[in-house]
Symmetry: none
Amino acid sequence: MSAEIICVGTELLLGNILNSNSQFLAIELAKLGIPHYYQTVVGDNLQRLKHAIDIATKRAEILIFTGGLGPTPDDLTCEAIADFFAVPLVEDAEIIEDITQKLQARGRPVTPNNRKQALIPQGATILPNPIGTAPGIIWQPRPGLTILTFPGVPGELQRMWKETAVPYLQSQGWGKEVIYSRMLKFWGIGESALAQKVSAYFDLPNPTVAPYASKGEVKLRISAKAASETEAQKLIAPIEQQIKEIAGLDYYGADDDTLASVVGHSLRQAKQTLSVAESCTGGGLGQMLTEVSGSSDYFWGGIISYHNSVKHTLLGVDPKDLARFGAVSATVAKQMALGVRSRLDTSWGLSITGIAGPTGGTETKPVGLVYIGLAEPDGNVESFEYHFGTRQSRSLIRHLSACTALDLLRRKLLRGS
Amino acid sequence: MSAEIICVGTELLLGNILNSNSQFLAIELAKLGIPHYYQTVVGDNLQRLKHAIDIATKRAEILIFTGGLGPTPDDLTCEAIADFFAVPLVEDAEIIEDITQKLQARGRPVTPNNRKQALIPQGATILPNPIGTAPGIIWQPRPGLTILTFPGVPGELQRMWKETAVPYLQSQGWGKEVIYSRMLKFWGIGESALAQKVSAYFDLPNPTVAPYASKGEVKLRISAKAASETEAQKLIAPIEQQIKEIAGLDYYGADDDTLASVVGHSLRQAKQTLSVAESCTGGGLGQMLTEVSGSSDYFWGGIISYHNSVKHTLLGVDPKDLARFGAVSATVAKQMALGVRSRLDTSWGLSITGIAGPTGGTETKPVGLVYIGLAEPDGNVESFEYHFGTRQSRSLIRHLSACTALDLLRRKLLRGS
């Protein structure tokens, strides 16, 4: 038993809109424990829509349509469904009244186009739309096959889903088994290296473990199927614990945790404060830190020393060292970290200087070369050299720089220096 | 002749990620004039993947796969393709060497998992991946059918598409009739207000004009279909000109322009410099400005004054005013702007102080209240008050604050103050 999501709309095929409805429905189906194996996007075309219905009826028992319910002639979802199952479309008096009331409330006339929205396949039940004019339907055209339709407007779909579709599906026995997931997050290890360390877990039937990677971060999703969220959590907990032990310090958090939030948590626990000196990231490190609500408890601020003169005047970097080693150097990174720590009077000072590209790289200092400086509470300072790759985008190099700086501090804080 | 997009990944079926790749490919196919009528999403499952291939080969002549090329055992795209067409997977020495070099450059070992990424269907050509380890393939398993595969990482897919897939498809005769688009961008006007002003253009057949809105920005896409990009541009130019005249200063740029890049352009032309003082945005304004390569010509840096003490010590805000008016006030915004302009010795000083929430709001100073200060080259200073809404997310309030600050400066620079 599985569902299939069929999103209808030429605007999706033209790339005019991002298909957020399929993501919403995917998450919701998972919550109800209803598996779905395919999603289909098809344009506003009667024959192709019927072709998609034909395929879906052969591999799924619940078909969920979004889009194609509007008042214009290119909205064809109901027509295609009725046509495919060879039943007539009938005008529903209740819908006509509802549409008339809604349009009158907005001072708009009822047009013939609107009457089209009142046509539903004979035998179907209305899936009410409390905010828009287009209602959906719930219909069993034959035993063992259920059809639900929703408009393409995300706000309308979401409300109709929660208010009517979920109770309906639960009444059909769904939602008794839930799928619950934990997303474990890692920094400082590649996807394949982590995958090798935890490969034994990829074959588990329940919970399942699957890896993801993007922009320097690796994630492992642990998903359990159980009768309740509590039971699913019980299945996940021991696997999560084992994976954390295997990963050691490369594991940094789960679900909504970010590098910035876990660094903040450690700083708050240690009653320590942080300031940042940013050159190539230009404020991005500060932005990550302050994305966490309440970060003013431990993050005092920073200096964006984009121009070299600012490195000297506001951070106290020695102009001779700037000239001798260059702005992108271990020496300057250290002086930036020490400078910002002292000027903002914080426990820690964290600095970034590097070449984000695409221009500005040289033979000895290529694009992607980044130095991170870390001034510690005891006044010691260290610098770390990274090569994020000469062909990476400016945006990715800056992102990796800021994340790596946070990760360095995270590890220091966890080791209890 | 048409294409079909097949996105592979259980993470899409679970709703863990939004399917932005299908939107990117949809836009790109339209540009090349290649129709596509279906998109399919399928999980990391060999049988279902082969089933999706079976269906797609019956209704499309170009199959474009994204995802499932990673190093882990659940990455099955190549295996499914080879299996479906009954050819063996062979290890490609060139790929092995490329992966080895890339991993060595990052100081990471080559694992057996990585070797898996070097397996391609016999007879397929490599579609090089200049930034990641997973290459794609271009393959004609039989006459009249072309397969292209891409990794799921959007940055890698996009680069591989532009550098290799587009030239390849053009060499096959595609892209002779092009769809060319210009995206006009607006700030400081709502979607419906702009739509009303330019509604007459929404009915044009060629070029077409369509509105989009997200996170405070409104866009109008003008798309023309023609035999060449030059001819399409000729169709677009007069419409673009008329819309710009109607929109006036609310229009800020097109295509790759950002508020930060157009501000940068104006500053460079005026030979003026800028510094920023950020409280609630915590570095986000500096990050936007420095996302533009070459911004060090006019952006000198800034001070992230997250903690009130930093507002005083580094920006010279009067502690009495901080106590009397509060950190989120017109007075403090002005002093921050003046302070950063004077300490960094720049033409302009731009400051932001506000309540990003979700906590910290009061009856008189609700979440979403933001003051922006602008210190001008002549030493004058102004402040501006905004209410971005008490129920908006922290992230959106910070984004709107930084964009609005840039927009204020943009308008000042254009008016030639």
